[in-house]
Structures are given as C-alpha cells and as structure tokens.
C-alpha cells in the first residue's frame, strides 16, 4: 500500500541574516513514511526540531533539500517543490494542521472559525455551522461561547476551538502539535476519541504529544528526532 506521506532526506536550516548570517541547521536528513491509519509521534527533547518538521510538512516552512511526497487524490506531489497555489489546494483538502496556539481573528465567532475550513470546501453555511456545533459540544465548549470571538477565552478553550477546526474536515493527513497541552482529563479523553475515529477512517497522523499517556494511547509508532540529526 503506497504511503500517504513519504519524506526523503528532508533538510531544513534557518539563516539569520540580521544576526551576522548565522545558520542554524535544525533538520539534517529526515526519512519517514506514514501510511493510512497510522499515527507517528515525533519524539525528542525541546529544540530537536519537532515543531519545525510539522510546519515543514504543512508548507509553512521552506525546505533546503529533500523530497516531501504527499498523496493527493489519485496522484502525489512533492510539497518541497510545490507552488503556493498547489500548497493552498493541499491545505484545503488533503493536509490539516492543528497548531499549538489558536490564531485569533478579531470579530470572527468561535463557531465560524470552526466552520471556515468546511466553507472553504463549498459546504453550505448551515451545514458547516451544525457540524462545528457538534464538534464544539464534543469538546465541552459551552454554547454560550460559540457566538463570541475567542480573543478573551482561556488557553484551554482556545485550544479546543483550534482542535475542532482541525477535525472539521476529513483530511487524509493530519498534523497535530501538542493537541492536549492545555487540556484537563475529560477534554483530553475527548481529543483522544476524535483521534481514534479519524485513524479508524484511514487518516495518517504525524503528531507531537508531550503527554505520555496520550502518546501511548494513539501512536502506532515513534519517530525519534535524533535520527533526523544523525547525518549532520
């Protein structure tokens, strides 16, 4: 079975021109394949490049060398070489990303933040909002918060909206950056439930889980970030 995500020799470094041109090599050579229904947990201490790798997989960070093959429908595309338009399309329908922190947009209600990825795929307003409501309910976000902009919410509330948004569309690939970081027991369980469901549906997940309990529950295997630095 062809992998959904096929990373080969991925290298990523940062060159800080305004700090004398110092270059920080964060990822030296990442080789990783992920199949449908698999959940790979990125494992390593702070500074080993876990978030960097996730962001690279989303096209948020540029790649210095290597290939990043993503299955898209019946074909596959190398994200490292993809044009902006193609990346936008991949993000619309193939790759989902739950970042660590919700990016708050003024005036947009929580419900609409969650509904937005569905609206971008042509789902009607009412249907999108209904599904958003179902997700928020599942994540224990009270209805009184749905029509408010999340700027004043707690960290945990914001994160649950972020998660709901990430799970709103059935992406074949899902990138999760510390999805349970600010959550208590009940909400952690709810997120685990969501992850289980999408895995059962064949979603491929690459995630960072600092919480050992969550990691053990959902990960099919670990990817040790020191492997990424091995070739350095």
């Amino acid at each position: 079975m062809a992998p959904v995500l096929d990373i080969r020799g991925l290298a990523k470094s940062f060159t800080l021109h305004n700090q004398g041109g110092v270059t920080l090599p964060v990822l030296a050579a990442v080789d990783l394949t992920v199949g449908a229904g698999e959940c790979v947990a990125l494992h390593g201490r702070s500074g080993t490049g876990k978030s960097t790798l996730l962001r690279t997989l989303y096209g948020n960070y540029r790649v210095q060398s290597g290939e990043l093959w993503v299955r898209h429908g019946a074909t596959r595309i190398d994200l490292a070489q993809a044009r902006p338009r193609q990346i936008i399309e991949l993000r619309r329908s193939t790759i989902g990303y739950v970042s660590q922190f919700l990016r708050v947009i003024p005036r947009v209600a929580a419900l609409d933040i969650v509904a937005e990825p569905m609206r971008a795929r042509g789902v009607a307003v009412e249907a999108a909002r209904a599904r958003a409501a179902a997700l928020l309910t599942r994540l224990n976000v009270p209805e009184r918060l749905w029509h408010l902009a999340p700027a004043t919410f707690s960290g945990g509330e914001q994160q649950r909206i972020n998660i709901a948004r990430g799970f709103a569309v059935a992406y074949p690939i899902l990138l999760l950056d510390e999805p349970t970081a600010s959550l208590d027991g009940d909400n952690r369980a709810a997120v685990i439930g969501l992850i289980d469901e999408v895995l059962a549906r064949g979603t491929a997940i690459v995630g960072i889980f600092h919480d050992g309990e969550v990691r053990d529950r959902v990960a099919s295997r670990l990817y040790d970030m020191t492997e990424a630095k091995a070739a350095a």
């Binding site: 940062f14 060159t15 800080l16 021109h17 305004n18 962001r55 096209g59 948020n60 960070y61 540029r62 898209h72 429908g73 019946a74 074909t75 595309i77 044009r83 902006p84 338009r85 193609q86 990346i87 936008i88 399309e89 991949l90 329908s93 193939t94 947009i105 003024p106 005036r107 947009v108 609206r119 971008a120």
Partner: protein, 265 residues
Amino acid sequence: MSALPLLDDEPPLLVVDGLTVAYGTRVGCRDVSFELWPGEVLGIVGESGSGKTSLLNALSAKIEPTAGRIHYRLRDGTMADLFGLSEAARRQLLRTDWGVVHQNPRDGLRLTVSAGANVGERLMAIGARHYGEIRGAALDWLGKVEIDRDRIDDRPSSFSGGMQQRLQIARNLVTNPRLVFMDEPTGGLDVSVQARLLDLIRGLVADLGLSAIIVTHDLAVARLLAHRLMVMRGGEVVESGLTDQVLDDPQHPYTQLLVSSILQV
C-alpha cells in the same frame, strides 16, 4: 472523492511580465512578474518608497508602465494586453470588471451625492435606467457592508472614516468585479474600525470569489487577507510566496528585518 484541482488547469486572471515603472531616471518599480488566479488575494508589502504604490498604479491602469506587459483575462476568456486595449475599453474595464479601493475614501467617492447614488453610479454607467431597481441594489449593498440602510440618502461627507471606506467598497463591488485593487485599505482607521473592515473584506472575498491585490505596509493585514505575498524594497520584489511561509520563514534579509520589526501587543 471528486477530482481535486492541483495542476492549475484554470488559467490565471492576470499575468504580469517584467513590469517597470520609471519616472525619468527615478525608478518606481523594476522588472516585476507574477500571476494571479481567480479567488486569490495577493498582498504587496513594503515600506515607504518600496515601489508598491507605483506597481499598484500601473496594474490598475492608472499610469502606463515604462516597460513590461500586463495581460488580463476578459470575461469571454481572451487574454487582453491591458495597454493594447483602447482607452475606452480600459475605462470600461475599470467600471465593471475591476474595482479600485483607495487609501483615502475621499479619492474613491463622490462626496457631493448621496450614499445611494455613489453605490448606484456604476450601475447607471453601464446602462441601468430603472430608479427603483438601482435604489434596491444600493440598499442591498449598504446592508452587505454594514452601513445602516437609513443612511442611503445621506452624503458620505457626513460619514465616519470607516463608513466611508465601507461605502467605497460597496461602490466598487456593485458591478460584481472579478479583480479588486486596494491601496492600504485600513490606513488611518482606528484599530476597532480596522478589524471590522478587514472582517468585511475577508468575508466578501471568500463569498464572491474575488481576486484582489492589496498593497499594505501592515504585515498583520497581509497575513489576514492575503494568500500570497510579495515583499518589495527599493523598487524590486525581494521575496514572494505563500503568506504564512514568507512571514514565518522569511528567507531574504530584508524580509527577516521587516518581520522582526513588528511590535507585539
């Protein structure tokens, strides 16, 4: 799963090739090239003197470029060389298929006539001759840009800056343009007013499938509205790409400087 478009089977709406605008020996912008697709928002960011305004003026046919070509895909599918068209055709384009939202709403509105007349003018310019229908369309659009419909007969000179800007947007969108140019649309507005305007623009672009080219010096505005970004400095494009990529992983020294200069709230 339906076939997902990936290989750009849709032709671009605007193709810009080697665009240069020079004022005698002084260069406004040099050798700018890019493509823009339907439904896409391109942000042009840069500081004063970067050439972004020269570029916008050439793109919106306000001034003729010194070199280079601008090709626009007309509604019938043909690619037209913008400055190969007659002036009449260009002006027609500006009245129907394009919109231009100026930084100062006073440059884009008729202050001596009512809000309703401002919105209805483009309709009248393309031959609308039924007063009731024109007024109905104006009321409709005032609602969309969140201007109280009671103000339809008031003059824009009595409106606040934010309201004037929203009226300018309504005035441009009434003919369902496919491409809108915006020059610092939130410049000079209070922060809360800005937020409202940005929210409106985001919504309209998404709902109407507009393409837009937005010039701004405010990176937060660019991040919110633009799919792609072009960073300009000294008349040249120093970096371009996906908005979040350019802002989160800037490659060019100038972009890095720009991004690191933003004050945190």
